[in-house]
Amino acid sequence: MRAVGRSVPRIEDPALLVGKGRYVDDIALPGTLHAAFVRSASAHARIAAIDTAAAAGMPGVHAVLTAADLRPVLRSLRLPLGASPTSSENSSTPFVLNGHEAAYVGEPIALVVADTRYEAEDAAGAVFVDYEPLPVVADARRAVEAGTPAVRTELASNLLNRMMVAFGDVDEAFAKATHVVADELWQHRGCGHPLEGRGVLAETRPDGGLCVWSSTQMPHDLFHTLAGMLGLDENCLRVVTPDVGGGFGPKYCIYPEELAVPAAALLLGRNVKWIEDRRENFLSAVQERDQYWSLEVATDGDGRILGMRGRLIHDQGAYAPKAVNLPYNSASAVTGPYVVPAFAVEVLIAHTNKVPVSSVRGAGYPQAAFAMERMIDLVAARLGIDRVAVRARNLIPPEKMPYTKPLKARSGAGIVYDSGDYPACQAEALAAAGWHDFPRRQAEALAQGRHLGIGIANAVKGTGRGPFESGVVRVAPSGRVSVFTGATAMGQGLATALAQICADELGVRPEEVGVIAGDTAFAQFGLGGFASRQLVTAGSSVHIAAKAVAAKAIRAASTMLDLPEAELELAGGEVRGRGGSNRGISLAEIATRLRGAPGYAFPAEIEPGLEASIQWKTDALAYANACHVAEVEVDIETGHVGVSHYIALHDSGRLINPMIVDGQIKGGIAHGIGNALYELMGYDEEGQPLTTTFADYLLVTAPELPRFETLYRETPSPINPLGAKGVGEAGTIPAAAAIISAVEDALRPFGVRISQTPVTPEFLFNLISKARAKQRAEREMPA
């Protein structure tokens, strides 16, 4: 029985279920020292002095290292731009350690290395930093106003970048519009918060090099960054991704700590480990935080969209560790699954004195979906047309697939939606949700004083970003089948999915395939885990590589058995004659033969080794789509929102493991619900973080969630050999938009408009109170 398409149990689970996972802090090397960072307490200050004397004399302390101390082993104190083709620094890339001017609370200033983590943390608290306060800019909108002080004194402007994302003739669209609706939206997405924080272990090697374990989504990027920054011979460096306790975006960046810890190991000639605590994660792991949108939509009399225009101010935080693809994603993805003939959004990327911003699950797409879906609801309300009818009129019809959006992806390739039937998806989701029956249920509930609401949101997500991912399939002389890839497992079940793909081609079972992902000693090339890309890219490479290994095994067996290839088949781990021939030869025997033996004949016209290495390349994205319908109940006395029903329909192409897909989708929805109702990374006006524990920053827990009803359509993507589309982020993208649409619907009796995430009980309570007061005043007004 083939494994692909079935919910086979995960090969990751047996170790994880008995406490035998191996996350970075579980790796114990002899003689390891432990690091703790001294972090800025000020959001913006000149650092006048750093006094390390007291700390250096404390028990167990081996070294207190500042930027000046690390400088001799670093090519530069400044990190290169991450995930970029040039690997060069610029005036917005972060510092490994900052000894001159802190630009956010949490910025690493110094590093203490001690015998234990306890002692390192004690000493870190004893390092005295003399801060001379500088003006703080905590709001992205203020950051770009004329006359606002610089977030860092080295900057001429807080405006990191300004770009237009535009197509069509917007002025003409608005000139001929029957209706124009406008709104201001604030979108906040908080932090990534994998349950395991970041962590780095650097082992010094006898050859003067390093082996570095890091809880990262980007081992190869880290490898090249370390080699360049530390001037290490690439042959003396290895980066290993151990088990990773969740990624969700923040581990897509290369961090100062990932340079500082290996640099300290080289300086001290000792193994050094740093394990982030949660407070540090709040203070220094990238966040996605705030976007401020102003949008206008022009429609004809029937709610057909003629054009959209507006502006987006994106809070970038103090530095930009990577190219600013996130706000570009947001702006370029706004039109989503809809036909929008003309579009012009200006994007302003503003530095603030806050933690740097990069991707969290969804990477700008959830904001795009929220902006679009909220504006469509507004069009529906203003024009008095049903919300789903406005959507149906504007969705890209299936006959227009593949559909080209007149925009370019970051690679420069066109944005081409490869496949899918968006109107059919919406219709199916609405039917499953009982949408057309809802007004009756809503009216009945309202008669009892209960406020129910229903909301809808559609979304698309480009998945499987290239340019490639590596896939090596090898059969060892023991018969062991292994997959090696530069793709990185962060807990999604990548190993299982790749094992399924490989197993089918080699006629073995998935649990017989070992997968090593994200270890630079085993995969020479790799890009890593981001953009819902790995199943599509690594999966395609493994698929092609496994096919090549199967073909080679049959070719070799043909020589060894003296039978024509056409009469041979691969099954049960051996090549045997078709039609029940009892002549067979195991993959182990073939691999042993192809290993070669000194002086013995080698099968003619066959290359040594039973293996194949493929880097399947792509410029195109496979577009997954979704329609979510949420039902909520709002307690108008407290502002509490309960999510009562949730229907999610997804078309993620061909499903390799439906169980894993369902887990990704449901986890993604929970994240989106958190963004809609709970997650808020708060700062005061001085840039001081207000939420630095899980008691202040609320992650959704089990009682808040309903059972999710998930539905799947499988429109195979024509652009990759698996027909697959990514699923890691698709569940999150429409969720907040669907929830807020439902909350607004529940509050229809009060005529309120909601243009933000998250909506806390306090916010809703105030919104409702204000609306009720206004209604009372209107009632009492003499006619």
Binding site: G21, A28, L195, R278, G667, A670, T693, P703
Partner: protein
């Protein structure tokens, strides 16, 4: 260092060790005993990843000092399967129902549910959701964990019959 000798029982085996008085039980288990199955997600008692059983009751091992466990019976994820390696019904159910993704919250979820199902082997879905309300999972959306708990409860009831 202000170290004390401590004696306790971990997963049924007597343990004699030394711990600095400020060392948490979690760090003692993980780094002194090398039982790294117990994970630390927040180190401030909210996420529940470090949950272990101390004398049968669930405890946040990041908020308890190792010296406080003197004389106690501590049970961790490493002690959940039988001596022959047979998985606990919860472990089996987590695999069957995809109750874990990255696996980092899993030890705390399992130990919390072990205690809960011992007290309440026939729970309603809402009771399970309440029982794990002090355990954060960022991956699953909890539904598969709840389904796993229901499956394990049925198995536990079956075994008791």
């Amino acid at each position: 260092m202000n170290a004390r000798s401590i004696a306790l029982t971990v997963n049924g085996r007597p343990v004699n060790g030394t711990a600095d008085v400020r060392t948490t039980l979690a760090d003692f288990l993980r780094h002194s005993l090398r039982l790294t199955g117990t994970h630390l997600g927040c180190e401030h008692g909210v996420c529940g990843a470090c949950t272990v059983l101390v004398d049968g009751a669930s405890v946040r091992s990041c908020l308890m000092l190792a010296v406080q466990a003197e004389g106690a019976h501590v049970r961790t994820i490493e002690g959940l399967a039988g001596p022959d390696g047979e998985l606990h019904p919860l472990q089996t159910a987590f695999r069957d129902k995809h109750g874990l993704q990255c696996g980092f919250c899993t030890p705390g979820m399992l130990m919390t549910l072990v205690e809960f199902l011992e007290e309440n082997p026939d729970p309603a879905e809402a009771e399970i959701r309440d029982a794990i309300s002090g355990n954060i999972c960022r991956c699953t959306g909890y539904e598969s964990i709840v389904a796993a708990a229901l499956q394990a409860a049925a198995e536990i009831r079956e075994r008791r019959r």
